[in-house]
């Protein structure tokens, strides 16, 4: 009997192409997710000086004023960024959930645009405005006013918040939409004035979402490399991500052990945040599943228009960094100062020095996108439809890069793949793989939530009607998942194209990408070329989003959240 069951199962396993795919995916994730992290952890526990196994590195980390300062800076700037992002995102979320006004979809696209353009482009825009030679700084100096410096925590927090507030918008708007309006009406009928209803009833109901959003922003801010690298000016205002980078990369006195230690501390903070968010959202689960989704209240025409104007103005401010970069890219540069003269000189010089950066970017990102979409769709399907240890292991491994900062992954790769058996350092493959691994969690989640909403018996029906599983998957699941796949692909394309924090650790002259070129130029290079590169990135981002909006709308998209 056991023998019979065994052969049956084995035959089924071999007939099921998913098992083979899942096995291959597991192997891939073990090598490209688990192994680099395990290696970093191992190195963190090998003393930088003594070479002995132990906590020597952690002792030196917390014993050094410089390292402690980086830790404090990370926490301070991320906290500040979170607060600013909440201040911007919460009112927008409320207004979008509760009111209808003309132009809403377009304003929404504009909000998402701030999230999807590379964070360091925003950082660079702040420097163009408020940096040492910035427009506003110079104008203020001429008027005899001294402005506080943009370099350091304020600038980092502002730039991070402006690129991360859309997370607050998306997560909290969803929560506002799910609030049972009957509860508010009950409160109002019991004699509460409207403002107090929002404060006493609505806000507590969306609190879990606000906490989740805040933690996501904090995670994004503390993981970011480009923004603090540009606005912190390297070691003048170090944060953990830039510290790890410079510890690893510095040509003299590279300290891989301390770099690994910094990475491990950063990862621990990130995991603590995500687990904290999980815990909070589980503990404070607000039971309002039965709430009917009510469409937003229509406003009288005059007030609706006023709201459009107000919201557009607000969103224009949050998108200011993009405009600044686009405009300054066509301004003449003298020394390090932009002049009010229109010219395409910057683009000419940028084009002359671009080398293979643009083609590299398009090629690596294009290949990584194809891989991300195919693998993410397949894995999203697999982890949703198949139970068992293999599916659980894949689900866990695939989500790890969602939490681990890009710089950490980059350093891990550089450590592990710099020799046999897998010598990948300096190749295009390592850039493509790091793109894929960093984007896979988002694509997998997007696909998984789409699969989750599709009735499982549709596939049973397809098979029962005689369709082989693979053809059935293509004929039934793929068309039904298409909106989610498209949305996921559009966002993946933009994010991959703008990836900096891992690739900056891994690139060589031959594999330099556009974000890396823009980053290098904005660090004391040619400000005109930097603006031109950044504008090109923004241009490709906007073009992709418009194409996507035309193809199917962003409504189905939005970033998935693990918390």
């Amino acid at each position: 009997m056991m023998g019979l069951a065994g052969t049956l199962n084995l035959r089924r396993a071999l007939a099921d192409p998913w098992i083979l795919l899942a096995g291959a995916a597991l192997l891939f994730l073990l090598v490209f997710v688990a192994l680099p992290l395990a290696e970093l952890v191992r190195q963190a526990f090998i003393g930088q000086k003594s070479g002995a196994f132990g906590i020597e590195n952690f002792v030196s980390f917390f014993g050094s004023g410089f390292f402690r300062r980086a830790l404090k800076n990370s926490l301070v700037s991320a906290t500040l960024a979170t607060m600013i992002a909440l201040v911007i995102g919460l009112p927008l979320a409320f207004v979008f959930a509760r009111f209808d006004f003309p132009g809403k979809p377009w304003i929404e696209v504009a909000i998402l645009l701030s999230m999807l353009s590379p964070p360091f482009v925003g950082a660079y825009a702040w420097i163009i405005l408020f940096g040492r030679s910035g427009f506003v700084t110079l104008a203020a100096r001429d008027a005899g006013i001294g402005l506080p410096t943009i370099y350091g925590p304020t600038g980092i927090a502002l730039a991070s918040a402006f690129s991360l507030f859309p997370l607050v918008f998306l997560v909290v708007r969803g929560a506002f939409l799910r609030v049972d309006r009957g509860l508010e009406e009950a409160a109002a009928s019991l004699g509460r004035p409207p403002a107090r209803v929002v404060w006493n009833v609505t806000l507590p109901l969306v609190m879990p979402a606000i906490v989740t959003a805040a933690l996501l922003v904090f995670l994004g801010a503390i993981s970011d490399f480009g923004t603090p690298a540009i606005l912190g000016e390297g070691d003048r205002y170090p944060v953990l991500a830039t510290l790890a980078y410079s510890l690893y990369i510095s040509e003299i006195g590279s300290e891989p052990g301390m770099a690994a230690t910094t990475c491990v501390i950063l990862v621990l903070i990130a995991f603590a945040l995500v687990l904290g968010a999980r815990f909070l959202s589980m503990r404070r689960k607000v039971a309002n599943d039965s709430a009917p989704n009510r469409s937003p209240d229509p406003l009288p025409r005059g007030r609706a228009r006023a709201m459009t104007v107000a919201v557009s103005a607000f969103v224009t401010v949050t998108n200011l960094p993009l405009f600044v970069v686009l405009i300054s890219s066509v301004l003449q540069v003298r020394g390090v100062v932009f002049q009010p003269v229109l010219t395409f000189d910057n683009y000419a010089r940028a084009w002359a020095t671009i080398g293979s950066a643009l083609t590299n970017s398009l090629m690596f990102a294009g290949l990584a996108l194809v891989a991300t979409v195919i693998l993410g769709t397949a894995l999203g399907y697999y982890v949703t439809r198949r139970a068992g240890p293999l599916a659980r292991a894949i689900d866990l491994l695939v989500m790890i890069p969602y939490v681990v900062p890009g710089t950490v992954i980059g350093i891990g790769y550089a450590q592990v793949f710099n020799g046999p058996p897998l010598f990948l350092t300096g190749t295009a493959a390592i850039i493509g793989i790091v793109y894929l691994v960093r984007r896979l969690p988002y694509m997998t989640r997007a696909a998984a939530s789409a699969v989750f909403q599709i009735d499982a018996t549709l596939e049973d029906a397809s098979q029962n009607l005689g369709m082989p599983p693979a053809r059935g998957f293509a004929g039934i699941m793929v068309p039904l998942m298409r909106p989610a796949i498209l949305a996921g692909a559009a966002i993946a394309w933009v994010e991959i194209l703008n990836e900096l924090s891992a690739s900056v650790v891994l690139y060589t002259g031959a594999t330099r990408t556009l974000p890396i070129a823009a980053y290098q130029q904005s660090l004391g290079g040619d400000v005109g070329i930097a603006a031109a590169y950044a504008a090109m990135l923004v241009g490709i981002t906007v073009a992709a989003l418009i194409l996507f909006a035309l193809a199917g709308g962003l409504r189905n998209g939005g970033p998935p959240t693990t918390a």
Binding site: D460, A461, Q463, G466, M467, P479
Partner: protein, 365 residues
């Protein structure tokens, strides 16, 4: 045994044969060595409460679940290891499982496409199938424009158009409202008869099972408790579970003694049993509500008082209580029915007391 009695009613050759089928999920035994044969053209219902294994059995036959042990054969040909898409069984699902991105006609054509049927012939067969379920006028609609009943007709047409060896129906009507359910089950029965298609039908609704089946397999705990034509299952239940699940029963813990045999109920009058009853000792006696009537003035009976009356049209159901605290359900004609608080004396109709073993509920007499 009832099983043989039921099978004997069908001279047609065995079409589907299930033998020793077992399936365990974790430590839950879903199917415990199931044996089942279905004759060509027969409609057999798998009836039971949720978790009884009926859906697991159906899904094993469809090929969605691999059995741990046992065999499934169709026309003597083994299906062991054959994937669902190679079995050529049509299945109708509880949630309809109509493809939402395909039109009604495309849904019905799906299985023909899988079989590589040429376009012209395909269109013809789809048209005929839609005509059979009266949906020709909706052929170009998408499913979201259909009612639940219409969606299920699409599901039925889609399963029939492939001319399956076996039709599997998994609670096909349970998402429909009560009136439509009755209508649809008659249609299904009619269609099944016309096409002569061997059908296995899963339901938890005993009325549905009784009304459309050639034979009913009552399942509980992964075991077929009884398989027989509806009348037999109802009138001659194999055990206490079947009696209770089909039609319901008043249960009385009692003792059989004496010659001729008499049923002694603690604290109540003794009731005479048919002379043939060879059982003695402790039993569970089962009497259906409709098998209790008012006792003749001079005959033995159970004294009781009416607690609640529920009017059910021609009959009225009474819940009564004896002085000993025994509560019984009684169905009486609505005309001249006693009122709440009235005293009455009840007696079972002759030969309508069934005796079951107290330990395992097996039928004793």
């Amino acid at each position: 045994m009832q099983t043989q009695k039921g099978a004997a009613a069908h001279a047609a050759p065995t079409h589907l044969a299930v033998q020793g089928l077992s399936k365990t999920f974790g430590d839950h035994r879903a199917l415990a060595s199931i044996d089942l044969t279905v004759a060509r053209g027969e409609l057999v219902t798998l009836l039971g409460p949720s978790g009884c294994g009926k859906t697991t059995l159906l899904r094993c036959i469809a090929g969605f679940i691999a059995q741990d042990a046992g065999h499934i054969r169709i026309d003597g040909r083994s299906l062991d290891g054959s994937p669902p898409h190679k079995r050529n069984f049509g299945m109708v699902f509880q949630g309809y499982a109509v493809f939402p991105h395909l039109t009604v006609a495309e849904n019905v054509a799906y299985g023909l496409r899988a079989r590589g049927v040429a376009a012209g012939q395909r269109a013809e067969r789809v048209a005929r199938a839609l005509d059979r379920v009266q949906l020709s006028h909706l052929a170009q609609r998408f499913p979201d424009a259909l009612s639940g009943g219409q969606k299920q007709r699409v599901g039925i047409a889609r399963a029939l158009v492939i001319e399956p060896d076996l039709l599997l129906m998994d609670e096909p009507l349970s998402n429909l409202d009560a009136k439509l359910r009755v209508e649809m089950r008659q249609e299904i029965r009619l269609m099944q008869r016309e096409l002569g298609i061997t059908t296995l039908y899963v339901t938890h609704d005993q009325d549905e099972a009784m009304s459309i089946s050639d034979r009913v397999a009552v399942m509980q705990g992964g075991v077929i408790q009884q398989i027989a034509p509806p009348e037999v299952v109802f009138d001659d239940p194999a055990n206490a579970f079947v009696a209770d699940f089909i039609g319901g029963c008043n249960w009385i813990e009692a003792e059989v003694a004496g010659d001729p045999a008499v049923l002694h109920i603690a604290g109540e009058a003794a009731l005479p049993l048919p002379p043939a009853a060879g059982v003695r000792g402790p039993v569970r006696a089962g009497i259906r509500a409709e098998d209790l009537g008012l006792a003749a003035p001079d005959a033995p009976g159970l004294a009781a008082r009416v607690l609640v009356r529920s009017f059910l049209g021609p009959r009225t159901r009474l819940r009564v209580e004896t002085p000993g605290g025994l509560r019984l359900d009684v169905d009486l004609p609505s005309a001249d029915c006693p009122r709440e608080g009235d005293a009455l004396r009840l007696a079972p109709l002759p030969g309508r007391i069934r005796l079951y073993a107290r330990d395992d509920g097996r039928r004793l007499a």
